[in-house]
């Protein structure tokens, strides 16, 4: 069974694996942190495996148990699962991240099961006892593991359906499915007759329907409006709609609270219909701000008026390569309501001059803030 050392390392393996997965999904899969956490999981898993096999170095019992069951290896399909996981992982490295993550899951799951199986086979010469040992060691994880996979598949297929259906259609589907689940659940709990073959039939039907609809939806792709949004780059300067009016896409979900105040070189403020700037250390209201060249610089925009406004940075012009077309370079914040703030991050590589001027302005408000880049 679990020896004290193996318990610790199994726990560490699980914890670091969960941490690695969460880090990869929530922070950045390419970040060094996720690789380090995965490394910890692999290393801890390896040590856990050794601890299992050697029963924490209790050589006497390990020798006895190996000798006792040396002739009764249990047939296992876990090596095949492990090999499949390895193949998928490698394939994922060469193709895409989803295949890699799935492969990694299969690899780790298969390896864990294989290790436990092998360890349990050495517990005694009695196959039934060994099976119980295996069940006690990892049996408790079988159903949760399978359930997690099943739930993941259901969530993925269902999400494809919801992303393909129209907005109102998705709402109807959601209501119908939720009602059906509720009804079937009530029937199973209140009608004993429904718990046998009938519930199996309903579940199978629902699974086939979900699989069919989900696969069809995945092939069909997301509904047109979502596809359009996905293709757009809402944070690229060229796409931004920096006018006075609200933009359909750009002004959605505006985050109007700013936390990085210690990284702000100037604050541009709209107050009583007037535009001015402030810089830490200077008490006056300014109409000129200095911004270091070739450096990522944050400007805080604060709107103290009732109307919604946005800050626009006019960063000169450029000639489109291979043409005579001259286009404006600029960027802007989203619309900010009363007492709301937005952060504008700019990087101006060239000094300002009489011929090359930069400015901040707020559509709908008179005046400009001159931006000097020394």
């Amino acid at each position: 069974m679990f020896t004290p050392g193996s318990k610790y390392f199994v726990g560490l393996t699980g914890l670091s694996l969960v941490a690695a997965i969460l880090y990869a999904f929530l922070v950045n899969p390419n970040d060094l942190g996720s690789i380090a956490l995965l490394g910890v999981a692999v290393a801890a898993g390896l040590i856990a495996g050794f601890a299992f096999l050697t029963r924490d170095g209790d050589t006497e019992s390990a020798t006895e148990s190996v000798a006792a069951n040396a002739e009764v290896p249990t047939p296992s399909f876990w090596p095949i699962v492990f090999a499949l996981g390895a193949a998928l992982t490698l394939l994922g490295l060469a193709t895409n991240a989803i295949v890699f993550v799935v492969g990694l899951g299969v690899l780790v799951g298969g390896g864990l099961e294989w290790t436990i199986q092998n360890w349990a086979d050495r517990a005694s010469a009695d196959g039934r006892y060994n099976s119980e040992v295996r069940a006690r060691a990892i049996g408790a994880l079988d159903y949760p593991g399978l359930a997690a996979v099943a739930l993941g598949v259901i969530a993925y297929l269902f999400s494809r359906i919801m992303l393909t259906a129209s907005k109102s259609g998705a709402a109807v589907i959601f209501i119908v499915v939720a009602a059906a689940v509720l009804v079937v659940g009530v029937l199973i709990s209140t009608k004993p007759a429904f718990r046998g073959r009938a519930s199996l039939l309903v579940t199978t039907f629902a699974a086939v329907l979900l699989a069919g609809a989900g696969i069809a939806s995945a092939i069909n792709g997301e509904r047109s409006e979502l596809a359009v949004v996905a293709e757009e780059k809402p944070y690229s300067a060229s796409h931004r709609e920096c006018g006075e009016e609200a933009s359909d896409h750009y002004d959605k979900h505006a985050g109007n609270r700013v936390s990085s105040r210690s990284a702000v070189i100037a604050t541009v403020i709209v107050e009583d219909g007037k535009l001015y700037a402030q810089m830490i250390g200077l008490k006056d209201k300014l109409n000129t701000v200095s911004v270091p060249r070739s450096n990522v610089t944050n400007i805080l925009f604060r709107n103290l008026d009732k109307e919604e406004y946005r800050l626009v940075a006019n960063l000169g012009t450029r000639t489109v390569a291979g043409t005579d077309v001259v286009e404006k370079i600029g960027t802007c914040t989203q619309l900010a309501g009363e007492n709301q703030e937005q952060l504008l991050t700019i990087n101006i590589p060239k000094s300002s001059s009489a011929e090359n001027k930069y400015s901040f302005e707020v559509p709908g408000i008179e005046g400009k803030i001159e931006v000097v880049v020394p």
Partner: protein, 402 residues
Amino acid sequence: MESRNVKSSRRRLVASVSAIAAAVVLAGCAKNAPQDTFQPKGANAQMIQDLQVIVFPIAGVVGVIVLALAGYIFYRFRDRGQAIPVQSHGKPVVEITLTIIPALILSVVGVFTFRTIFDLAETKDTEMIINVTGQQWWWEYDYPTQEGISQPIITSGQLVIPVGTKVLLRETSRDVIHSYWIPALNGKKDAVPGRIHLLRLEADKPGIYAGQCTEFCGLSHANMRMETVALSKADFAKWVANQQKAYVSPAEGTKAKEGEAVFLNQCSRCHQVNGIKDANGKAVISAPDENVYSGAAPNLSHLMSRNTFAGAMFDLVIDKCRDDVWNASSEEFGAKYLAGVSSDCLNQKDLRAWLRNAPGMKPMYADPAKLEKSNGLYRGMPNLGLTEDDIDKLVAYLITLK
């Protein structure tokens, strides 16, 4: 025989320790130590000094007691083949006492320390702001428009401030983390890319105060120096006026004019000289962002109004002239500094060597064959392959940039 050997080795040990201790003590007597942290020359550095005179004695006494006790215990209970004493779990009275005493000491130290930290972080009474930007391996200073400065000013190497003025530095970095430290005027403050960190300086008297980047920032970290020049308010106004002077192109037919052409051809890709125009009369805007990893190179508009170059690693003036400025009295300092670099005082040797082969003078990542990691961008100034004739012309031109 054995006893004699033991005595001899003890004597050697005592002699060695004494020699090291003497060297450490004597090092504190150095006269030419412009970066001495115990010689404050301004209000902020004085606050730190006031804290040090409280904390250092306390820490010193505690340190001596702990080390003496440890030494005594090591010696008194050293292994002489005696039986291992009975092991006990400890004494609560001693443990509690030894916890309470340090806690009390730290509380006292903490009160003074926190008060000083908050005092040093004060910005409400700021009288002047200067943006300070670090990059490998030099500092850029730009003075936004404010009272007394009608047009923005940009310079590097030497930060110029008025005496008795609460100056707020707004520090950031273009590449890696650097740290700004003028020991005589305040503690150190990191310059971090993407952030604005505040550091206040105030100098009591006119003079030059030396500093050093104190955050390891790459190959030439040790050569990333800085100097703060404090001028009287009247002299500072003169310095501002000079920095805002319009560019005057050298007279036609002079060597300086030829040097301007060399500058336009070789140097203006990275170095800006405000107001310089090309042969067609078009204003030239440098593009260090296309050539240098940090995206910036020192603005040379008034190069000869400062005394250093190459990240303050080299003096622009010869030793005699440098000493003349550094050692000037408070009354004379301003005039001597504002005189700038004359032809007689120009440190031609280092300046020419720099123009001839900059990477040979200061370690930099400037080998064109080894710039893969920075996408072909230099970290520092490359060897431009200038001819001696070009260098002559450039020196003649640069001396005009006052």
